[in-house]
């Protein structure tokens, strides 16, 4: 799970503003099956963190249990990681964020971890608007327990043994949209060009950023009849907008035709530029986004890209009125009222 990778320093590798190379954002060697979608996502995370020049120690990696959840060990080895218990990573994230709001939290989960055992926690992390990037590596099965259908498997989808799934799926994007998530995206592990900017935008979003990433399980769910196989997913992608995360403030030079681009300001002063591929689409309109995704699901299509972005809602810390300085670094004398005050407190109980 975390076999150290040999670090070969190549002086001519590109460096970011931290003076770090892409390799500096890697983690332990993956022990997942060759070709597993989750590994591609790991690579995209490495790329996104590198491009954002995040100091590795400013990242905290959290996960539940599953093949997907193992991947927190495979990127940014200079960051603290926490592989917790099945379906409960959102609670860990809320507590960790409560203690230190200054870190970048990357939560990695699976469709079993998030949509079955952990559905309640996912819902409440969205409700709290915990400041984190939440990745749902969605393969339609429980990989680690060997291929049972998950709650995201489509009705009628076939298992490797030929069984047909008898339940309608829970779609994390619809769920997140309907309960008020402030950043909702879907992508595909095989589309790094789309995924990397989404990850960057999600990391910089102030609040809960959910990216549902279709991530085929080559071992248990990549066959004919599966709706989460590489072949099926590639065939059925539909992208209304292309996102780009722009590092600078001010005038943005993009060569989109007028009416083609939507620009959304992020709290950090940066901007997300969304290129509209579908002219009717407005990713800042929640109701429209919901309807759009539903229409395409009915056609058997996975809508991908940045589906919804709203920067308005208060995040976890704004709701709790905590100071900018992380609670875990407040000096004790700011926390303890002292002996004199104790005297006056108990006086009220005489």
């Amino acid at each position: 799970m975390s076999i150290a990778k040999p670090k070969i320093s190549r002086p001519n590798l590109p460096r970011n503003t931290q003076g770090l190379t892409r390799r500096d954002y890697e983690g332990g060697m993956s022990t997942l099956c060759a070709g597993c979608g989750h590994d591609s996502i790991t690579a995209a995370i490495v790329q996104a963190c590198f491009e954002l020049s995040l100091p590795p120690q400013s990242v905290a990696k959290l996960s539940g249990i599953g093949c997907s959840s193992k991947t927190t060990a495979y990127f940014v080895s200079g960051a603290h990681g926490f592989n917790s218990v099945h379906g409960r990573m959102p609670a860990i994230a809320a507590g960790a964020s409560a203690a230190n709001r200054s870190l970048h939290y990357i939560g990695v989960s699976g469709d079993g971890d998030s949509l079955s055992i952990g559905l309640g926690q996912l819902g409440h992390a969205i409700r709290r608007n915990v400041d984190m990037l939440y990745l749902l590596e969605n393969n339609g099965v429980y990989g680690l327990t060997k291929g049972q259908f998950s709650a995201s498997a489509e009705l009628g989808s076939q298992s490797k043994k030929g069984e047909k799934n008898d339940h309608e799926p829970i779609d994390p994007v619809l769920l997140a949209l309907s309960i008020g998530a402030t950043f909702v995206a879907r992508s595909f592990s095989g589309d790094k060009d789309q995924l990397v900017p989404l990850l960057k935008a999600g990391l910089m979003h102030r609040g809960f950023a959910l990216i549902d990433i279709l991530s085929p399980c080559v071992t248990f769910n990549d066959h004919e009849g599966s709706t989460k196989s590489y072949a099926y997913v590639r065939e059925h992608l539909h992208t209304p907008v292309a996102a780009d995360y722009i590092e600078t403030r001010g005038e943005i030079q993009v060569d989109y035709q007028p009416g083609e681009a939507v620009t959304v300001d992020m709290h950090d002063g940066h901007q997300v530029v969304l290129k509209k591929l579908d002219h009717d689409y407005d990713p800042t309109d929640r109701a429209r986004a919901l309807a759009y995704v539903q229409e395409h699901i009915a056609r058997g299509e996975h809508v991908t890209g940045l589906i919804y972005l709203g920067e308005g809602r208060r995040n976890f810390h704004e709701r709790h009125q905590t100071p900018e300085q992380p609670l875990n670094s407040l000096p004790y004398d700011k926390l303890c009222p002292g002996s004199e005050r104790l005297g006056s407190i108990i006086k009220r109980y005489r």
């Binding site: 120690q57 592989n83 507590g95 875990n328 407190i345 006086k347 109980y349």
Partner: protein, 606 residues
């Protein structure tokens, strides 16, 4: 005038019990009476027996006036204030011979049962209220406050003390003070005119409550969390632990809000369930904040998986279990000590946890602070086992002291500077030989980064499925637990070489102390060991070894403390005799005296 026969001498030594209907405002009347006694300088015990319901069910409040300063129930009821016709029959039955019963005589009771050996006194409370107050709700509330006036006359309570208490609690509504005082005066005058007052059992000013205050244990524990510097709390509401977080929040709103910016130096998460609550506590603790969760038995059951993670991944977490009657939902508003085993061994696999057993609100305060120090020193979950009796009843508490020189023991945490100086950091390496490794807090720097996991890991923090590496770590955890035995609060031992003794814990203490005194008068001398922490220290082993006969007093059916002693010490099982109280009401001293007398006469455990 009613002839008061069978006089009992009971100056500053009697029990009055109020039988009420909940939701009728009786709590403020009963609280007022208790506080008045306290302010008159007479030690007092208040116990609330309430239903799991908001309005309409029977509820009782028992006040023990005890000049000698005992802190438990005595087991007697000298005066019953029977305000609930539905429970009248059993309330009458409960009065000790020679006692009194006061009831509302406004309506003729269909069957007003009486007893030869109980003096029944009727006061037309409803009638007096109807004559003097407007509105149905006001009349109900005033009826209760009116019996406080009757009680004041019967027990010689100081009306001026009552007035000043009312003035303090209704500082912003002076009209209410007058209305309440009017009701009190009406009751007082009626009793004066119709009964021989005061009763032989009455209150005489004593001056023995100086340096004390009245507080429940949940509030005291919350105060401990505040002083310990806890910044993150997560919880899911459950009786009887809810008031702990309520109190923490209200203390924080007063003492943790920056006066200039209005920003809050705390964060309380009302979680979606107890799984999330403990998860958030673990996340915050992993991240270097002092964090805690208050809960009760059902919450502990839900938290089990996460508790195992905190144990194995070695994350300091503080849990308050305010125990209530189980199993299952049980009786949520009744008290027991029934979670000893489920906390000691919470979670699957080989796990053992540090437990603290405060006996009263005073200890709840001090041991709460200590719980955070221990959790961080030992990097493990620490359970503070309270119960409903400690947590929700009002206790007379000696003034709390705070040493301003106190600094939290954050345990073995490597800061950013130190981490740069060491060659390599390994999370689970026992460098000091005490079983406790060093940790870092996220954000400390790349060199300090490590991976936390509940799956098999070796001493360097890496994933492992290797038997030797796995055993190496779990064996170290055993060493760490041994270290814990020397760090948890020492048992309190009282004794002078008797061959038999009592072993007990937590809220049994008051009743045991009194039972010891009663037994001594009967010529039975017993030593006493009160455990305050688990794992048990040397002193516990020594006490068990040096006594031939041991009475284990605890409040659960299955003798959980006895089980823990047999499992975790070298004591011979034959020496232990259980005295078990599990009715859901706090144990009384007479229950223990009777139990020990019975056991001794049968020659049990000899």
């Amino acid at each position: 005038m009613l002839e008061v026969n069978r006089p009992m001498s009971g100056i500053n030594d009697f029990v009055v019990k109020f039988a009420n209907v909940n939701g009728t405002g009786s709590a403020s009347a009963n609280g007022l009476i208790m506080k008045t006694v306290f302010r008159m300088g007479v030690p007092v015990v208040g116990k609330n027996f309430f239903p799991s319901n908001i309005q309409g069910l029977p509820t009782w409040y028992e006040i023990r006036v005890t000049g000698e300063g005992w802190s438990a129930r005595s087991g007697r009821v000298d005066v019953m204030v029977a305000m609930n016709s539905e429970t009248y029959v059993r309330d009458l039955k409960e009065v000790s011979p020679g006692g009194y019963l006061i009831h509302d005589s406004s309506w003729a009771h269909p069957v007003l049962l009486s007893r030869e050996d109980v003096t029944v006194m009727g006061v037309p409370l409803s009638e007096l209220c109807a004559e003097n107050f407007e509105g149905a709700r006001a009349r109900i509330l005033m009826k209760n406050i009116m019996y406080a006036g009757v009680i004041a006359a019967l027990f010689d309570l100081d009306l001026e003390v009552m007035r000043s208490l009312l003035t303090e609690s209704y500082a912003r509504k002076p009209a209410l003070v007058e209305a309440n005082m009017k009701a009190i005066q009406l009751g007082y005058d009626y009793a004066k005119a119709n009964f021989q007052t005061p009763l032989p059992m009455r209150v005489e000013p004593l001056g023995r409550t100086a340096g004390h205050f009245v507080m429940d244990g949940n509030t005291a524990a919350a105060l401990g969390c505040l002083y310990a510097g806890a910044t993150v709390g997560a919880w899911y509401p459950i009786t009887p632990s809810t008031s702990l977080m309520d109190a923490f929040k209200s203390f924080c709103m007063k003492h943790r809000v920056d006066p200039e910016t209005g920003q809050r130096n705390f964060l309380i998460i009302q979680a979606e369930d107890e799984l999330a609550a403990i998860g958030a506590v673990i996340g915050a603790a992993w991240n270097g904040a002092r964090s805690f969760t208050p809960t009760s038995g059902p919450g502990i059951s839900l938290m089990n998986e996460f508790i195992g993670l905190a144990y194995y991944a070695e994350i300091p977490t503080v849990l308050f279990d305010v125990q209530r009657v189980g199993p299952s939902t049980g009786m949520p508003t009744r008290t027991q000590q029934c979670d000893l085993l489920s906390c000691a061994y919470a979670s699957h696999g080989d796990t053992r946890h540090v437990l603290l057993f405060p006996a009263n609100p005073e200890e709840a305060f001090y041991l709460s602070v200590q719980a955070f120090d221990l959790a961080e020193r030992l990097q493990t979950p620490v359970f503070v086992l309270l119960d409903l009796d400690i947590g929700m009843n009002d206790w007379m508490v000696p003034d709390l002291k705070w040493d301003d020189a106190y600094r939290p023991d954050r345990g073995k945490v490597l800061d950013a500077e130190t981490i740069q100086k060491i060659e390599k950091f390994h999370r689970y390496l026992d460098v000091d030989g005490d079983g406790i490794p060093w940790r870092t807090v996220p954000g400390t720097g790349e060199k300090g980064a490590y991976f936390t996991r509940g799956s098999g890991h070796n001493r360097f923090g890496a994933y492992t499925e290797d038997s030797v590496e796995y055993q190496d770590v779990v064996d170290r955890l055993v060493r760490k637990f041994r270290t814990a035995a020397a760090l948890v609060p020492k048992a309190i031992i009282k004794g002078d070489g008797a061959t038999a003794g009592i072993v007990s814990l937590g809220s049994c203490d008051g009743a045991v102390q009194e039972a010891l005194a009663v037994l001594a008068k009967q010529g039975i001398r017993l030593d006493y060991l009160r455990v305050r922490g688990f794992p048990f220290g040397e002193e516990v082993e020594e006490f068990l070894a040096s006594h031939e006969q041991l009475f284990v007093v605890e409040q659960n059916r299955d003798a959980q403390l006895k089980s823990l002693l047999t499992l975790e010490t070298a004591v011979e099982k034959r020496k232990l005799h259980s005295i078990l109280h599990y009715s859901g009401l706090p144990v009384s001293s007479s229950f223990i005296v009777d139990g020990i007398n019975r056991a001794m006469s049968k020659g049990e455990a000899a």
